[in-house]
Symmetry: D2
Subunit: 303 residues, 4 copies
Amino acid sequence: MLTSDARGVYLIAATPFRETGELDLDGLDRLIDWYLGKGVDGLTILGQLGEAPKLTHGEALTVARRVLARVRAPVVVGVSSPGYASLVELTRAVMEAGAAGVMIAPPGTLRGDDAILAYCREVAERIGEAVPWVLQDFPLAGGPPMSASLVRRIADACPNMVVLKHEDWPGLDKITAIRRQEAEGARRLSILCGHGGIMLPHELFRGADGAMTGFSYPEMLVGVCRLAREGRHEEMLDLYDAYLPLVRYEQQPGLGLAVRKYVLWKRGALPTPALRAPAPKLSAETRAEVDWLLARLERRLGG
Amino acid sequence: MLTSDARGVYLIAATPFRETGELDLDGLDRLIDWYLGKGVDGLTILGQLGEAPKLTHGEALTVARRVLARVRAPVVVGVSSPGYASLVELTRAVMEAGAAGVMIAPPGTLRGDDAILAYCREVAERIGEAVPWVLQDFPLAGGPPMSASLVRRIADACPNMVVLKHEDWPGLDKITAIRRQEAEGARRLSILCGHGGIMLPHELFRGADGAMTGFSYPEMLVGVCRLAREGRHEEMLDLYDAYLPLVRYEQQPGLGLAVRKYVLWKRGALPTPALRAPAPKLSAETRAEVDWLLARLERRLGG
Amino acid sequence: MLTSDARGVYLIAATPFRETGELDLDGLDRLIDWYLGKGVDGLTILGQLGEAPKLTHGEALTVARRVLARVRAPVVVGVSSPGYASLVELTRAVMEAGAAGVMIAPPGTLRGDDAILAYCREVAERIGEAVPWVLQDFPLAGGPPMSASLVRRIADACPNMVVLKHEDWPGLDKITAIRRQEAEGARRLSILCGHGGIMLPHELFRGADGAMTGFSYPEMLVGVCRLAREGRHEEMLDLYDAYLPLVRYEQQPGLGLAVRKYVLWKRGALPTPALRAPAPKLSAETRAEVDWLLARLERRLGG
Amino acid sequence: MLTSDARGVYLIAATPFRETGELDLDGLDRLIDWYLGKGVDGLTILGQLGEAPKLTHGEALTVARRVLARVRAPVVVGVSSPGYASLVELTRAVMEAGAAGVMIAPPGTLRGDDAILAYCREVAERIGEAVPWVLQDFPLAGGPPMSASLVRRIADACPNMVVLKHEDWPGLDKITAIRRQEAEGARRLSILCGHGGIMLPHELFRGADGAMTGFSYPEMLVGVCRLAREGRHEEMLDLYDAYLPLVRYEQQPGLGLAVRKYVLWKRGALPTPALRAPAPKLSAETRAEVDWLLARLERRLGG
């Protein structure tokens, strides 16, 4: 079960589709194995980057059960939904199937700290105190703003909220503020960082515990988290900086996931680079640029 | 089948729930009968105000089939979804079950006229030219802005788009502009107006064909549309103005649906005023105010 | 000086321009006299509806001094600005010229309760504790959301914040919550309501002290506030409902101010209906509709 | 005068303030000299990053005249304003003082392509055909979305619009689309890229003409543009990648400008790192991280 000791890389998994748009479950098996082979500590499935909103409820369950049956590492499952009924139903199903916890993003329509807190309290109660959950803080994707003090209030109200998925931007001082609150008595949370990893080394430096994002070279995320833990900060940045041109290219809103799937496909981790429609298409120019960035990366790593 | 000759009231139907949150299908039967008894020309189900986003895919199908099996009047079904696959699947299912057409809202993430047009073209092609559809234009609920000239481009590109659900605000001059375009050669669309009916008489005056909204006194919408058609404009406003205090109270974003269900319950059209969670709750003060408005309305109508 | 005892109508004044776009100071004199002749308790100038963002700093000062020199009733001056320097400079100038207080809207870019509170605290300190101010709460115009509990925190931190300009929507339960807080010990604020008056009678019923908005028939606002104070609630609604069709028409975002100036011009209160560019233009159809609404209003009032 | 042949680096200039918040005009002289010493081709003043919204009209004029009197290189001046009157007044003043052109950002409240086009047409006419202008396309900062086809319509309608300041994100395919339109007959525009330079080398690769942004190492922007022009693309990326960790750190919304001024101050280009309030403050942790990034950069450049 997920606890506030979670650390390392909980990779956000892509969802493989055939060119025709159907789920590719064999491809999913192979992708999951490939991720685990890169040394990740856990997986997060059915997030935005797993194209969860484009799956039917039945497909979501199929994906979750397939992954949970295959994997012994902890798996977090995204269960956000406009209605509590669906959210709770999916939560129960995946927890029974062996999920380590669930991930919930408060809707962007909530207005003000009190409303966000009330939503979290209600959701936490409905899924039940036995289910650990990840609070997703992603204003860039339309989520409501959450200050460090609000995170503390949510943590106080919801003992089963154990991980903060931190994607605020800018957000470094927020991590510092949360850790300072904890030093002064607040309950400790695991902080795992998203947003494509664009600020990862600095987030770790501020006290984050790891990454929860989906970069196409998971081994970089793994290496950076390990070097941070060992206090080898210059080496951490040396490693990270080699990948930064690609991290930055994958961070492009909307387009980024298509770039990521293209890279995963080129690396042999996906049978096709297909996204489920509607989705942006990579132009020939974009593919050429990504090829160029990959060639430079391989050269730099090889050197 | 829905055509561009659609006119009158296509009432947006509420979805009845028990206090525990389950669908109430018997209540649905009775509500539908009640609506039809008020003289509406058609129904629109599974819209935002039908709490569609809080239904599972299976529940949505159940609601649609139940209504379609019961009703001979034309029924439009909301099928908007983040993924084309779900949208097409639901469209096929409800058209087979006898729907008159489907309603689609372009997502608010589309940026610029060309992107909105491309989305509509793609969606129209995927559902197939045999399926007539309603284009929902509702910027207040997060939809992208659509000018009169963009509506024309969409109409040109999508021959099966036959109705514009107009909810732009302000939007009167847009109706005038669309009708003017049509006088100059553009394909004629049916324009049915939403936004709680807050501008309905003026929209009809500008050339709209009717209402597609969910006010708790459908008989007012029916009467206003009839008087507009007969050119009895002063009487139309006399009738409308009596209801305007309540129309305005039901228009409150977020809260309005809870008010509407409370009124429908008081009028005997719903077995409970329950919304599915998460949903705003009516305070004692709000209920007292609605009671007051209803008492005044009954007095004015009775006088 | 403005205090938390402020009540009645603090009318938001329009700013008269010539057809060529220049300020019309003689027209301003006459408009102000006309407002005062309608029985308003005070004025609010240089708000959004006074087209303040389209005035230069010098013009804003000219308008403020002209009005302050002419009027003995309390005048509130809008001083919101992206920079503290301009805000403080304008505040000092208008307070010296005799303003009763200033009005400040926290910028919509503030994220979360703590950031909004910090902004208010900073602003209150910079203008100085001797300057009473109005906190504008207008999410529809892009302001940040402020819950009742946040309003209380701001009131605690800023003793010179004496009036809440309430324009939240829905917002009735917020007024109730603020008054309940005060019953339990919070400092009492004056609550004056904006948003075109679209919910005014209900806001007064919930405990608001008056109106701070700019409807083209100020005598209605004055009458409604008086009847509310006298507890004559049915008469209050009778009066209000006669004007509601026009209130609703003036509430249209963006277009509403042009409608309002057109009505003020027709009533002889403005020498021209001109707005400063960029501004929406009234179509012939819109003017005809407003004429129609005015004719119906006059008939109803005369009957 | 600015033409569609503009290329290279039009650096967005910071505005120096004393710790007390006053303009520092001597500091401005020295900063401008420092920029020119780095080899930039032109300057852009009074942009968002020059904290223009926090200057009074008088201060803005003072800054513009000071820079224009000092510099022979082309200077573009930001003149965006909520009212045409201020925009035109500032435009006239700076053109008389020797500006090469002005920069205008359509307001984010414009809804739909037609409204954006109408705004541009009106603005272009009001400033007069003799004044060349830069169209700022920055949706991230709240501007409206502009597709390649809309840019073409604006270019057709406004012959004096000669430069597109491109800051859309993702935006690479848009540059490609604009260049393709031009190959098919559209009028050629200069495309200068902003957004902190986060995609600069790829934007140049797609056909952009240069940079219009404010990175704290202008020599990098200059070098990258030169190498792109010479077709030395690997060297371009080698140079760029060395700075990317800092580019990425300066790109943080809101905070980035404070980081940039801190770096400029550390490099001796600014007498203080002060921003005018309200502005974010750099925490000790942030300053330490920037110091670390600078040390690594110097080492990498020196190596």
